[in-house]
């Protein structure tokens, strides 16, 4: 069960790319189609983390030794590399635990500003009754609940942009939702359920015309396609390392420098400050004002290595490769009755993932069958309950890809789905 020899990503055969990943050292008995949940890691990313820990470990930004200087340089160079990868400028990339944490830094910072913290500069982030936060019905809970809490704390109103029967929202619906009362527009660049790709620059323009802030959940876009937050005009964006061939426990918040310098740090402590008295503290500019306590340095170093790995292949090539995977799945499913594909229609733009609902069979039963058939997928509501409710289902089955995924694995997913329908007695008896 090997990838087709002619399959290439950025000029490299998939068979060759797979050799970079220890997870695929064993013969490919299982198809790993759960990269949207967490991706496998190249050996050199794992090696980079280990190398830092074995040879360069020192207390970053603390003390004066040469070792500290060397370690601090690696930490900050890694920041530069990751920043460049996403189109962030100097001081525009803050380390966070993951995308969820990064989104919380923004929402909680705005809550602090609304409570009067952060002085005059922070008043631009203060919300109150009469203000509105626009989100979409398709959001991952990570880009929904922090805004619900911010609304509850401040008296602002949460305004949802509804999705259609495919689970997709339109630019028109977004335009209707954004008004002079809008202060924040928060949405995902790529839906983790439908694979829908949002028109980021267009939404940003609509929002900025009303002086609203644009917060982007870039968790499913940064690992899979070229982004340029600066050019796209977003104000804040969040992404996770473990979905982009990097480690767990590290993610990042992008923010425009002037905004990050004014946003109150919701988490405070050592290394975020300039002057501290018994009564009060003054905070450093971005990014260090948000990085309280000892940072996950080895993860940062390894994430930069993952970014270099992706850069060498080229994000345009990665996106094309994954889109071919999605198209292969859609082509295969076109011949299978009783399978509802969520998200953009065939032929429309979509990221390299496909979620389906199988008539008459619950997603967890499908997932169990696929597991037995050696196909690893995600089943459930994918942390997007409102979206599933809008689609009239409680759960779905998602196959997702990354740079190492082969078309053969797309075929295995489709074949296993067909077998599952037969096993659970919902396939029509067709004479062949």
């Amino acid at each position: 069960m090997l990838p087709h020899a002619h399959e290439t990503v950025g000029g490299r055969p998939v068979t060759d790319i797979r050799r970079d990943f220890p997870a695929f050292d064993a013969p490919a008995e299982r198809a790993y189609l759960d990269s949207a949940a967490t991706s496998q890691r190249p050996r050199r990313v794992l090696d980079a983390e280990r190398d830092y820990l074995e040879h360069h470990l020192a207390a970053v930004h603390r003390g004066t030794s040469a070792a500290v200087g060397e370690s601090t340089s690696r930490f900050e160079e890694a920041r530069d590399d990751v920043a460049r990868f996403v189109g962030a400028g100097d001081r525009e990339l803050v380390w966070a635990e993951n995308a969820t944490d990064a989104l919380n830094i923004v929402a909680l910072g705005m809550a602090d500003a609304s409570a009067g913290l952060g002085g005059h500069e922070a008043t631009r982030f203060a919300l109150g009754p009469g203000d509105e936060i626009v989100i979409t019905e398709a959001e991952h809970h990570a880009n929904l609940i922090p805004w619900q809490r911010l609304a509850a704390r401040t008296g602002a109103r949460l305004v949802p942009v509804r999705v259609d029967e495919r689970g997709v929202w339109s630019l028109d619906a977004m335009a209707d939702a954004i008004t002079d009362r809008t202060r924040v527009v928060a949405f995902a660049e790529v839906s983790n359920v439908t694979g829908f790709i949002a028109p980021v620059a267009e939404v940003a323009e609509l929002a900025h015309r009303r002086n609203a802030l644009v917060v982007l959940d870039a968790c499913q876009s940064v690992p899979h396609r070229q982004v340029d937050f600066g050019a796209q005009g977003v104000d804040f964006a969040a992404f996770s390392g473990h979905k982009m061939l990097g480690p767990n426990g590290i993610g990042a918040l992008f923010g425009r420098a002037e905004l990050l310098d004014a946003l109150p740090p919701a988490r405070t402590g050592g290394s975020t400050i300039t002057v501290v008295t018994l009564e009060s503290a003054e905070f450093l500019p971005s990014p260090h004002r948000f990085e309280a306590g000892t940072q996950p340095v080895s993860q940062v170093v390894a994430l930069a290595e993952a970014v270099r790995y992706l850069d060498e292949i080229g994000m345009t090539a990665v996106a094309e490769h994954e889109q071919a995977f999605a198209e292969r799945v859609l082509d295969g499913l076109a011949a299978v009755p009783g399978v509802r594909v969520l998200g953009p229609s065939r032929g429309e733009a979509r990221a390299g993932l496909v979620s389906v609902a199988v008539d008459g069979v619950h997603a967890h039963d499908i997932g169990q069958f696929l597991d037995d058939a050696g196909v690893d997928v995600r089943t459930g509501h994918h942390c997007a309950q409102p979206l599933h409710r809008a689609l009239g289902i409680t759960s779905s089955t998602r196959a997702s890809s990354h740079v190492y995924t082969s078309l053969d694995e797309a075929d295995r997913f489709v074949a296993a789905l067909m077998d599952a329908r037969r096993f659970f007695g919902v396939a029509e008896e067709v004479s062949v």
Binding site: H362, A363, H364, D365, F369, G380, H381, F423, F424
Partner: protein, 149 residues
């Protein structure tokens, strides 16, 4: 029997379709809604007790979930309808014990009846909650019943 056939025994696939006891129970003594947040499966169990609250005269459930959770609710309804409350709680405990067995031992068919079909589920830790959904709802509905008389 392969893992998958052990899990999805014929009786489970059959009961998942039959859905015994599914429906409304207008004159219920009490009810409980149970949700499995990890998968979104949900079930409302309604029970009607006799005047002394010693016996479950009737019960009905409404829910949405995987075949394991729906089949389990169906088997529960067949087994527990007309049963003494104390016996229903004891059966629930036996069922729970079987599901915690991780596939070890032989379940007592005398005690569990058709519910032994769920023994295979005990090997799949992620699915035990599916099988327990209706039973947990039954326990809670019994606990919520107001005092008799």
């Amino acid at each position: 029997m392969s893992g998958l056939e052990g899990l999805y025994q014929e009786i489970i696939l059959d009961q998942a379709k039959r859905r015994n006891g599914e429906g409304e129970l207008p004159d219920a003594t009490s009810q409980h809604h149970e949700l499995n947040p990890s998968c979104g499966d949900e079930l409302t169990m309604r029970i009607r007790l006799d005047p002394a609250h010693e016996r479950i005269e009737d019960l009905a459930w409404e829910g949405d979930g995987c075949s394991i959770s729906m089949a389990s609710a169906s088997v529960l309804a067949e087994a527990v309808r007309g049963m003494r409350v104390a016996d229903a709680l004891a059966l629930t405990e036996s069922f729970r014990e079987m599901l915690r067995s991780k596939g070890r031992g032989e379940p007592d068919v005398e005690v569990l009846g058709d519910a032994v079909a769920f023994h295979g589920v005990s090997k799949y830790v992620m699915r035990v909650k599916c099988a327990m959904l209706a039973w947990v709802a039954l326990e809670a509905a019994i606990a919520k019943a107001p005092p008799a008389g």
